[in-house]
């Protein structure tokens, strides 16, 4: 009988060995590998039961490991890689599941035999690859052989296998609400319809049904679709536009759905510098990216009044054009016997007996100012203008003999000194309008030519009050461009009003005379 068992076992193991070779080549074969653990109270009964199971499984496609020797052979043939859970790349199943996985066993059948009064009672449990008991039953039979055939029938007529494969692999399998390992996996299930869910982080879960048939292996293959990720740009000004790869996709704070990948992000807002960044979004990931924008340095926002006002000492210089309507009636030479301008004359050489004619004279020159500025108030400590003109106007000049002789005013020079003026300014970003008022002294020299006497230079000096308005544009906190209009009214009515137009440049300095303890220039 023992010899017969060996022969039967040999017959069984030859094709099963070939299956094991297949397993080496293709570890995830659809062919099941089943480990049988049989124990009981009678060794003879155990041996008969094992032999009979082998006979009963003759038509079964899977490999069935029935004895310790068969297990040793199988262990010799199947050395698997160390489980990934030892490195943390996958979660650790139970130790039993790890053992199943190491040997690539599909499931195990634990059978406990009891013999009493001519009856054999076979209590069996089906253990799945996760180490969980999925089916338990007890069968009574008159002998071990019948018990073996009944157990095999009970298991293989009532169950079937389902193989789960996914791309990528590693998805969690839940069948009828119970976790059943990760893909790829072969699960033995009771015959009938089962609901399963495959879940993998970052991908949309997949739910389906499988119809398990007696003894057949059904295969479920699923390729996961990547979930779109979400990009949320934060900390940029409200309403800022978010562009992804150059296309406007939304605004700051709004979730923007994007397929997994790397994107060029651009955030734009009026009055702020555009910010560019790159972002990599994974499947199903919500990426929040903080992108605060810096304010733009535009024409009207570049320079603060704080930076300007620290430059207390201000120098200004510019081209000035003077327009004066005057009679110059009191201009005279400085000699003991002076020549004196009587009046401008008309085309016939005439002039009024009382008073004098006036003319509008244009002069051009430069003006220099030096001022000390507080925040808004300023004191112009010295202002000086030097202007020249060539009026070419007919005049009558009273000679030392008392006669009025015709002549021509061919040149005019003017020097104006303003020792003290007050100014007031306001700041509108880089633009600084200002007004100033003060008194000054004008010195005028007139060059007269006449066929009746030698060329004479007459002079005149007079005080005035002045009022000016202007606008400065600061290019830097120190340097500015300016335009100004000044009106000067003379105490002597003969000189009339003086209109001065200036365009120029200026510079401010904080500590010209080094009165204050400044930081060192070298460290």
């Amino acid at each position: 009988m023992l010899r017969l068992f060996h022969i039967v076992l040999l017959i069984l193991l030859v094709p099963l060995g070939a299956a094991a070779q297949d397993n080496e080549a293709a570890p995830q074969s659809d062919r099941e590998v089943v480990l049988w653990n049989v124990d009981g109270d009678n060794q003879r009964t155990i041996e008969v039961f094992r032999t009979s199971v082998g006979e009963a499984l003759a038509g079964e496609a899977g490999r069935h490991i029935l004895t310790d020797a068969a297990l040793k052979t199988y262990v010799r043939e199947n050395t698997g890689p160390l489980p990934g859970c030892l490195l943390g790349v996958e979660s650790c199943p139970s130790p039993q599941a790890l053992g199943f996985d190491a040997l690539q066993l599909s499931f195990a059948v634990h059978v406990t035999l009891k013999t009493s009064a001519g009856q054999v009672s076979a209590k069996y449990a089906l253990i799945d690859a996760q180490g969980a008991v999925t089916r338990e039953s007890s069968i009574d039979a008159p002998n071990a052989r019948d018990a073996a055939f009944n157990v095999v029938r009970d298991i293989f007529d009532a169950t079937g296998a389902a193989r789960f494969e996914t791309t990528p692999a590693g998805a969690k399998i839940v069948i009828d609400g119970r976790e059943s390992g990760t893909t790829p996996s072969l699960s033995r299930l009771p015959v009938g319809r089962h609901e399963f869910t495959l879940t993998l982080s970052g991908f949309a879960p997949f739910t389906g049904q499988v119809e398990v048939k007696k003894g057949l292996t059904d295969k479920i293959q699923h390729t996961f679709e990547e979930l779109p990720g979400t990009l949320v740009v934060t900390d940029a000004p409200a309403g800022a536009l978010v562009l992804v790869n150059g296309e406007q996709k939304g605004r700051v704070g709004e979730p923007i759905a994007l397929a997994p990948g790397t994107y060029a992000i651009e955030v734009r807002a009026d009055g702020y510098d555009t910010l560019r960044d790159a972002a990599t979004i994974g499947s199903g990931e919500e990426l929040r990216r903080s992108l605060p924008l810096a304010k733009s340095q535009g024409l009207f926002s570049g320079i603060s009044s704080e930076a300007i006002t620290v430059n207390n000492y201000v120098f200004r210089m510019g081209f000035e054009h003077g327009i004066q309507t005057a009679t110059y009636q009191d201009a005279r030479t400085g000699a003991d016997v002076p020549y004196e301008l009587r009046s401008f004359t008309d085309g016939n050489g005439g002039f009024p007996a009382v008073g004098a004619l006036e003319r509008t004279v244009h002069t051009n020159g430069f003006r220099l100012d030096f001022a000390y500025q507080f925040q808004n108030i300023g004191i112009v400590l010295l202002s000086m203008s030097y202007l020249l003109g060539q009026p070419d106007e007919l005049v009558a000049t009273t000679t030392p003999l008392g006669t009025d002789e015709p002549g021509k005013l061919v040149g005019i020079q003017r020097l104006q000194m303003r020792p003290f003026q007050l100014s007031y300014r306001e700041f509108y970003n880089n633009f600084v309008p200002f007004a100033e008022a003060g008194m000054g002294m004008d010195f005028t020299w007139l060059d007269i030519e006449s066929p009746r006497f030698d060329p004479q230079r007459l002079s005149q000096s007079e005080g005035f009050v002045g009022l000016g308005i202007g606008l400065q544009y600061f290019i830097t906190p120190k340097f500015f461009a300016m335009a100004r209009y000044s009106l000067q009214t003379y105490f002597d009515t003969g000189l009339g009003n003086d209109h001065l137009l200036l365009i120029g440049l200026g510079a401010g300095f904080p500590n010209v005379f080094g009165f204050d303890a400044e930081p060192p220039e070298k460290l």
Binding site: L71, R76, L87, G88, V89, H110, A279, L291, Q375
Partner: protein
């Protein structure tokens, strides 16, 4: 082995000193620019010096001076104040700096320096991140990303030291949390990419950690991270040395024993792996008996590799019965 010990031992002190080096080189660069009258460039360098070590007073004074010469007196006043707060009471230039501060404040008038909007927003975002968000996420995001954003805004206030301390603590907390296996795991459940993120997270913490205890932790954990990367990246030869180093340097991380077994197995040193496993299993009996069945499975697998088929089958039977 020795090579790796030397490498790891030198790596973290080098990281720790990197901040000091950044600080010194930035100050030097700033002074050179200042002496050339390139105050904007000097300002940038002093800002970087402060960011590298916010507790050093010197760069605040120099930064104040750079602002002064750029006529930004309100900002200068603020940074003079920062210097005066941090400088020692017997600093030789206190009187000079006070005089400079007075002049700057006079010129600033009623203008008071406030944090620029971008710095304020970035700071608020970091505060919020430190309170509720993750310290480090893949790609350098999380609070670390917000911190780097804050630095890019040229934020350089003394409270940066506290921010760095908080952030480094949060980074290490997060790192350590991920380093603890769940009850059902033998080792932390992290793949290669996750370990790369862990490596970046640890490097980030090392970059800003000012506390020597934290620096020591970073040093020891670096060996673990390197071992994990070697194992997962299949750098077999290095993996054995690194796994041994990780285990010896981190006795609190019992699970590094599994790393050593795996590294030896991957290197084909199955007898040593078995010896290590048996020694490790003895410690598991008292430390974590629930993991002993796993040790039995691994033992069965190692016995297979040693062609001890009977012993291997017996070990498998113990588990599968």
């Amino acid at each position: 082995m020795l090579r790796w010990i030397v490498f790891i031992t030198m790596l973290i002190p080098a990281l720790a000193h990197a901040a000091a080096f950044d600080h010194a080189s930035s100050v030097k660069e700033g002074n050179a620019a200042y002496n050339r009258g390139e105050y904007a460039k000097a300002q940038k360098a002093y800002t970087q010096a402060i960011q590298a070590d916010p507790n050093q007073p010197g760069p605040y004074r120099n930064l104040a001076r750079a602002y002064f010469w750029q006529d930004q007196y309100a900002a200068a006043t603020t940074f003079y104040d920062n210097y005066l707060k941090l400088a020692a009471g017997d600093a030789p230039d206190l009187e000079q700096v006070k005089a400079e501060r007075k002049l700057a404040a006079t010129r600033a008038g009623e203008n008071v320096w406030t944090l620029p909007d971008n710095q304020r927003l970035a700071r608020a975002a970091l505060d919020a991140g430190l309170q509720s968000g993750k310290a480090f996420t893949e790609g350098g995001g999380g609070s670390w990303g917000l911190y780097e954003t804050l630095l890019r805004t040229d934020y350089c206030q003394p409270d940066l030291a506290q921010l760095k301390a908080t952030l480094s603590r949060r980074l290490l907390d997060e790192f350590e949390t991920l380093l603890q296996p769940q009850s059902t795991d033998l080792v932390p459940p992290l793949g290669l990419e996750a370990w790369q993120v862990q490596s970046q997270r640890l490097a980030a913490a090392g970059e800003i950690a000012m506390d020597p205890v934290q620096a020591d932790l970073v040093l020891r954990r670096t060996a673990v991270v390197e071992a994990a990367l070697a194992l997962l990246g299949a750098r077999t030869a290095n993996a054995v040395d690194l796994a041994k180093l990780a285990r010896s340097q981190n006795p609190d991380l019992k699970w590094t024993g599994w790393y050593e077994v795996v590294a030896l197995t991957q290197a084909g040193e199955h007898a040593k792996a078995l010896e290590t496993l048996e020694s490790f299993a003895r410690t598991l009996r008292s430390d974590n008996p629930s993991q002993l069945p796993y040790a039995t499975v691994v033992k069965a697998m190692l016995l297979q590799r040693l062609e001890r088929w009977d012993d291997s089958a017996q070990a498998y039977q113990l588990i599968l019965r």
